[in-house]
Subunit: 331 residues, 4 copies
């Protein structure tokens, strides 16, 4: 299942050390102005090698649009985009051919498929998100035409919330050959009421699935999230006034359907599994071995996960807006 | 979208005060022994009127299997099950025809559809989950045949973790015309490694979507969940030993694929939105009005959400097991 | 796969001699007036026992709507409909428990599932179409609101085209313990241009799949159909004039997309497989045996297939109209 | 909807005069040996410029595999393949920017999308099938591993069945600035019994949808096809003997499920819509104008449609074999 969405559908492909990664977007409405300069800035936010706190892999990640655009506009036909891999250093990973990195998908891929591309994590690499971000950039363009914007921010890293303290935590982890986790928050503004379906297609269900479908995310909450567990209903309910809702504990979603308030989502991001510190693991023959994961890794993935999470939220919302458009006309 | 699953697919229907609720299960393997006595006990756990701490609506919730079973076994054709509503007291809800209950889907349904069945919440009622539980009971039978079990427990209610304290919190809320939230945990034991897909079809993504698709759930976490945000990678990674994994911070899922360990999921459940306490809201004409929600409601929905969450987890796992079965033979 | 459609989605269930048959319709727009009297007349056209030329099984086929309707209108939630079986005479089929009827699905069901409900054909009975016709009746209501009508007619039976000759062929076959095939034509009038997708979702592809998905249909053609094989392009192309197209060899579909002309479909219907005449077949132990199929059967299924084919065409068109509605607003 | 299949799923993209065309294959089992030399021969059969009877556009149609293969084997992750366009002569089509070619999708694309890539038919060009053929080549590899083969042949062109007569008809049409249609037949050998689902997912329904989803196909029949309309049941039923079926009027499918016999499909292919002969049509302003379609076209598309139809049949069968694999293990 490398396809996401019902109406604004994307199919992604590509591995960390393969020839190229990319996405095909199907169901995008016709007539939207589009060229590579709409996509590249989002990919640039995501790409490695741009900060001393991130992976030093050097990839320009230049996107090429192969189809679906005519004289600068989308035509309603599928839009294929690709990014070629340039700086894969596959020899760094030779040791990993036979060892399962702790916290990674190495063991589970082997169990599932009986074969795996061990180079840079293969399909389970963070580079897999290139296709998501490229497609998300187009979703954001479509949303912006309808007054909807999506943004993300770092809430905390390793318990710290101030930028300086966060930077310090990341550097300290890096220097110790370790990594740290954190929390990010996404907000969508300008969403009309009525998006999402009441039962299995709840907007928050779609968002939760989209977020947990990003590698390293281990928790998702909407609005007040886990804090609701300690509350009274009289506190948690959002009263309505003449001007709308008096609070937004619901995070903009009631009964699975958008209320017109800001949509607020938080995700828990685990510390990067790839660390230099020595760990215990197994090799493919079942022997317990030591492992120090080489290669070029982010000591904290929270900053680089932001554009990916924004892209996924944008994709969910674009999909729901197209779904809802059916009923606005046809009832 | 009232259909859930790709392989073990259920379609549910029905409203709180309509004639009947139910589910059609499509894709269930043939040859599984099945009659109503396999389904009824799960529905009995879910139904109201059985505890002083729960809604007093009296519904026997007797299930009838309409199709898909021949001489006591499933045949591979769709299995339709229905439960008729008996004790709907629609007159209790007449006032709600024109008012939006805070914390409910009333407002968003009206915005989405321009029409809504206000009686007992209509399709957004908790009674909607009858179809899920009935279908989940069958999923559990299928899973049990493959050595997989699913169970749930209350972690906390309003911050309390001991049974007596929990009961006290619920009673106190009820007596105050209020409600309380809590946290529940689900565990699946016996899952083989290899379930779930690496990208959008991650097992944890499917679980997160399934859980957040239950009314009142506002947060989902897998394994260590939000706690990962404060950890070092060297602590959070689960080392492998001769006997398997030395810990289970991952909650049984690595890279979106089951590892063979227990699958551990926690959900945050908001306090019941329906409370007797006076609240501010709007009527359908836009006026601000007072509302005290009558009808028969649960002061805390955590206990009755357990069988629903177990059912959803079982449905996800059954679906993934069928998906994976394709590759076990065809590679 | 007992679900059909992407937007106007139906899921059907039920066997010939089970408790009930029916359908759940998901994705129907809200606000459409609906009660049982909208559905029953279509079911009455389909039901047996109404003509000396058809099966004598006596079934009132009374439909009950279980959900999705509030105060006489659809609400946007799933609409479940059931019809209970009354006159199943399962004892007539006892011999068939161990024999595969020629031309039937008996052998292939056994190969596929390893179990089968032999009574009246089980799920592969013509009674399976009750759910389709019930759902199609609602699709037709929706289409009529948009100016689209669907109708069907018998083109020929056993090579004859005149009503009297057709009746004679059917009677002769019946008296000989045999059956005859024929051709039916469906026409949809009033379809807007623009329905259908250019590649795999072509309108004619959807129609062909829908028609060939009806038991006994062995061929489908659109517009000129197989006759195009003997033509020049200069003859087959439909020229455009001031008033539209000068001919309709295309059957209302160009490049998979409706052109605004009448949509014209023809289907080839095989002679009923169940015949009294003695035939050779195998029993479940592999022995060659004689078989004369008892029970109550139609000597020619063409007349009763008409309402089913109309229903399927209506379902395809309703589905495509909802699909297209997305782009009318969102571009 | 540019995605086809449930289990062996392909998503195609690209236009006649865009940068590239291609396909992403998702759900292909891991471990299948694959490189470009497995795909290229099928593309070579499909490509233009190889016969005096076909379009003279010169395209090498070299395929590049971008992902999903590791050390010469599929890994279970998506396989992206692209073919770059080289010999597009877009200036030939400038006149068509403002005129609707008779028999083409020009008018319906304009009605549907309000925008269209007029160069070489854009997405509705025959070049769209490159992605299908590339994906079909992989499906055939998978099928061959399970003993299934797919082949096609020309039954007739413009009523002629002998090769010499067929060639003469095509040349005569070409010299007259005209085109001719014909009939092709596909046969799949070695299919196991049990493929396909009883109701909407019938194997013949899937095949009919796949075939009618190929541009220029206006009719599909299975086995005896339209001939059944003139038959008695006693003639049309295939008796069973000790060695299997005594005939194959059913074309290998009973009740929508494969019987183990050869699967036999015929398609009616219309004469190429693009002809030099002068025709009447409309321009985009509604004026009636004359048109003689330039560019490089096939006077008869039947020979080049064969590899496409074979590919689509292979895709359907691969998809059904994976679907069926679920039940072989999980029952």
């Amino acid at each position: 299942m490398n396809t996401f969405g019902r109406n604004f559908r994307i199919t992604t492909f590509g591995e960390s050390h393969g020839r190229a990664l990319g996405a095909v977007i199907d169901g995008c409405p016709p007539g939207i102005p589009l060229d590579e300069t709409d996509i590249q800035p989002l990919l640039d936010r995501r790409r490695p090698g741009t900060s001393p706190l991130a992976s030093q892999r050097q990839e320009a990640d230049r996107v090429e649009i192969l189809s679906g655009v005519f004289e600068g506009k989308t035509t309603g036909t599928p839009i294929a985009m690709i990014v070629r891999n340039r700086d894969a250093q596959s020899e760094d990973y030779e040791e990993l051919r036979g060892k399962f990195r702790p916290g990674h998908a190495d063991f589970t891929f082997q169990e599932k498929y009986g074969i795996r591309d061990h180079r840079g994590g293969g399909r389970s690499s963070g580079r897999e998100t290139i296709g998501r971000v490229a497609a998300g950039a187009l979703a954001m363009k479509y949303l912006a035409m309808h007054g909807v914007t999506v943004s993300g921010r770092i809430v905390s890293v390793h318990g710290k919330t101030e930028p300086a303290a966060i930077e310090h935590e990341i550097l300290a982890a890096m220097n110790a050959g370790d990594s740290v986790g954190g929390i990010a928050e996404l907000v969508a503004k300008g969403c009309p009421a009525g998006l999402g379906d009441p039962v299995f297609g709840k907007l928050d269900a779609a968002i939760a699935g989209a977020m947990m479908g990003i590698g390293a995310v281990k928790g998702v909450e909407i609005g007040a999230g886990f804090a609701v567990a300690g509350r009274f209903g009289s506190h948690n309910n959002d009263p309505m006034t003449k001007d709308g809702f008096a609070s937004n504990h619901a995070g903009g979603i009631l009964g699975g359907i958008s209320s017109g308030q800001d949509i607020v989502v938080r995700i828990a991001v685990k510390p990067t599994a790839s660390i230099a510190k020595m760990q215990k693991t197994r090799d493919i023959h079942g022997n317990v071995v030591d492992i120090s994961v080489g290669g070029r890794h982010d000591p904290c993935i929270v900053p680089r996960i932001l554009p990916v999470a924004e892209a996924m939220l944008a994709l969910v919302l674009a999909d729901c807006m197209l779904e809802q458009a059916k009923y606005d006309r046809s009832g």
